[in-house]
């Protein structure tokens, strides 16, 4: 049964949710005595108005693409991976070990090695909760939350102890060697006397993130494994009946998810900081949840939502510099986006569905019903992954 056209499901509902989140954010800004319209203008010009702004926006977006894809892949198997934060932190550990202890001849190889290290460490950190979910029925949400804290404690221990070079005060590893420094946007796009992206952290990892989007799309929609993951997400019972192993799907989807979250570390650790610092993730793992929800768990949606959140982050930083609105306003907006696109999805969806139903009813005798049918075999993305049953 089709309740509304596909464009409404994919574009209209998220757009209304976003507008609602924006409206309430505007009210909050009004309430603290600032002008929301001015704030919006500052945010947009601060986030997309120059190559400098884009250099930050795309840097943040790169982080969010990875963590968003991580949450999205898990969503397809109806797993809620809330542990992106910890997996990304441990991914950073993987990057640091690879960059510090292997003598790389060239940055291209270092990038490959770091990618591998980040993905392996991230996947390993997700593997334990996945195994406990698959084999012991421990709720994946609770275990991944616990693993976030355990990861934080582990890094805390390593960065004030074994990995910290003697004689420094900062809780960080030694700087990575010169040969592991990957090119920034400035190195890539400046030519002659025109220097673009001056002093910004965006780097080549952005293209790795784009590649990850394509690969995830291929995996989920064009491979047998992706089909199994989606089938499992739609109906665990039916998938089991069709001979799809629950353990395999839970393990594979969660480890892929962990690997993607871990990959974030090549952007912020190898690309930007060029050493592993404490608390380097800064909530990006959680923003992945908002990004995946807004992007409807589709790589293209994730990419767009990640750039939007990149704009929000860079714009928010600009806002706190020039107005009395603290940076935490971004966290409020992020919370509202998660609330409206995730938890309150039905609040927006139900009236829209009713609207379309009424319109169709009225138009039915004269015209054929709207362009409503799904293309066969193309199912809508599960909109709100319910809790996995233990």
């Amino acid at each position: 049964m089709e309740r509304m056209p596909r464009w409404a499901d994919v574009v209209l509902v998220p757009l209304i949710s976003l507008l609602l989140a924006g409206l309430i954010s505007a009210l909050v800004i009004l309430a603290i005595g600032e002008n929301p319209w001015e704030a919006l203008k500052i945010m947009v010009s601060g986030a997309v108005g120059s190559t400098y702004a884009w250099g930050y926006t795309l840097y943040y977006a790169t982080n969010f693409i990875f963590t968003g894809l991580a949450v999205a892949v898990a969503f397809h198997a109806r797993m809620f991976n809330i542990g992106g934060e910890g997996q990304a932190a441990i991914g950073g550990l993987g990057v640091a070990l690879v960059a510090l202890y292997i003598p790389w001849p060239h940055w291209t190889l270092a990038l490959l090695g770091a990618t591998l290290g980040a993905a392996l460490f991230g996947a390993a950190w997700a593997a334990v909760p996945a195994f406990l979910q698959a084999k012991r029925g421990s709720h994946i949400v609770i275990t991944t939350i616990m693993f976030n804290f355990i990861a934080a404690a582990l890094l805390n221990y390593l960065l004030v102890g074994p990995l910290k070079p003697a004689g420094t005060m900062e809780t960080a590893t030694a700087p990575f060697p010169e040969a592991t420094h990957i090119p920034s946007f400035r190195d890539l796009f400046s030519h002659g006397d025109t220097i673009l992206f001056r002093g910004t952290p965006a780097n080549i990892t952005f293209f790795v993130a784009l590649l990850a989007c394509v690969l995830v799309w291929l995996l989920i929609w064009k491979t047998r494994l992706g089909y199994e993951i989606r089938a499992f997400g739609f109906s665990e019972g039916a998938a089991r009946y069709a001979g799809i192993g629950a353990t395999k799907i839970i393990m594979v989807s969660m480890m892929l998810s962990g690997a993607l979250a871990g990959l974030m570390a090549i952007n912020n650790t190898l690309g930007e900081a060029e050493r592993l610092i404490l608390n380097a993730i800064e909530g990006a793992g959680f923003i992945g949840i908002a990004v995946a929800l807004m992007g409807r768990s589709h790589p293209l949606g994730v990419l767009l939502a990640a750039i939007l959140f990149g704009i929000l982050y860079q714009g928010g930083a600009e806002l706190s510099l020039t107005t009395g609105i603290p940076r935490e306003m971004v966290v409020v907006i992020q919370a509202l986006v998660i609330m409206f696109t995730g938890a309150l999805d039905n609040m927006v969806r139900m009236p829209v569905e009713r609207l379309f139903a009424r319109r169709r009813l009225r138009g039915a005798p004269a015209a054929p019903p709207g362009p409503a049918l799904h293309p066969p075999g193309e199912a809508a993305v599960p909109s709100s992954p319910t809790a996995t049953r233990p």
């Binding site: 334990v128 804290f149 582990l154 935490e328 966290v331 409020v332 609330m339 938890a343 309150l344 609040m347």
Partner: protein, 331 residues
């Protein structure tokens, strides 16, 4: 290792366990009714901020507590609206509530007090002071030497059990009260039933939504008291950003550790409170066992223990059966 150190440790165990216990009981009511509540952390945080803010502005700590309860209940209402009325995902709603609290408290504190996301120092009458239990000595009136020379049991009573804020005693009393409400009243029976088999409750003609909203509201009030304890009970003297620091999640861990039962929840919270007390005083650990344990290990212990419990290696933790699933009336 002397008696004074033990007393010191136990005293701070009870103090740090108080917010954990209240939040844990909040989670107990909510999850027993079938509503997962990841948002304990956010509700505590909002209450901690409002309690301190209003206590400072009005000069009355009780008005502060009331404001905290109001704020926490508002978040509970949002959670209920999302997860009961609109049958949304309870986990996502909880995550959103935590972020909303983390962001709004700082934004509001900055605009209200302009001190970088904190409230001003609270003074006399704006905080919950120490309650001296009957027969106990007021230690603040004794010199250190006199304190050291007290008989051990007197010291235990006066130092460890007496001298906490009224909120600590409310938390301790809430344990038997929660047990009684959940296991000895009709409301409690229905509340537990709605978390195990909502369809059966519905068939009996009782509103599933109303019961779940009641449970979520109780959770809101308990979280509010937990938050107020953090910011307004001595020795705390005001709100600072992110002051809950993951306590909502430790409370969730304690809830699983206690297998969703009130008295074991008390035990679990005291244990996790003890870890936190040890973490704050690494020197004591060295003196006790003559080894240096990294404080990171101590801070990770509650989570590690919970994962082990969850894995079912030490008894199995089985959550309420209908937990996390919205109830759809018409089939």
């Amino acid at each position: 290792m002397d008696w004074t150190t033990v007393l010191l440790l136990l005293d701070s165990t009870i103090r740090t366990a108080t917010p954990l216990l209240l939040a844990c009981l909040a989670g107990l009511f909510s999850e027993r009714a079938g509503i997962f509540d990841i948002g304990l952390e956010g509700k505590m945080l909002v209450s901690a901020f409002l309690a301190a803010g209003f206590a400072f502005t009005t000069g009355s700590v009780w008005l502060g507590l009331l404001a905290g309860i109001g704020g926490s209940l508002a978040l509970s209402a949002i959670h209920g609206l999302a997860s009961i009325t609109f049958r949304g995902n309870q986990l996502i709603s909880g995550v959103a509530i935590n972020f909303l609290a983390a962001g709004l408290t700082v934004v509001a504190a900055q605009s209200w007090f302009g001190e970088g996301g904190r409230t001003p120092q609270l003074g006399e009458g704006e905080r919950f002071g120490a309650v001296i239990l009957p027969g106990a000595l007021d230690l603040s009136e004794l010199t250190i030497r006199e304190q050291r020379e007290l008989p051990p049991l007197t010291a235990l009573y006066s130092d460890v059990l007496s001298g906490h804020s009224i909120l600590t005693y409310i938390a301790l009393l809430a344990v038997p009260l929660s047990w009684w409400v959940l296991f000895r009243t009709r409301f409690g029976l229905r509340l537990r039933a709605v978390g195990e088999n909502p369809a059966a409750v519905d068939t009996a003609g009782i509103s599933v939504a109303r019961l779940r909203f009641a449970a979520v509201a109780i959770a809101g009030v308990l979280c509010a008291i937990a938050g107020a304890q953090l910011s307004t009970a001595e020795p705390a003297a005001g709100f600072i950003r992110d002051m809950t620091a993951g306590r909502g999640y430790i409370a969730l861990a304690a809830l699983i550790f206690a297998k969703w039962r009130p008295y074991p929840a008390l035990g679990a919270c005291l244990l996790f409170g003890f870890f936190q007390a040890l973490e704050a005083r690494p020197d004591i650990f060295v003196r006790l066992f003559d080894i240096r344990v990294p404080s990171a290990l101590l801070s990770a212990l509650p989570y590690l223990l919970t994962v082990i419990i969850l894995a079912g290696f030490v008894g199995r933790a089985i959550p309420p059966r209908a937990g996390g699933e919205p109830y759809v009336k018409e089939r």
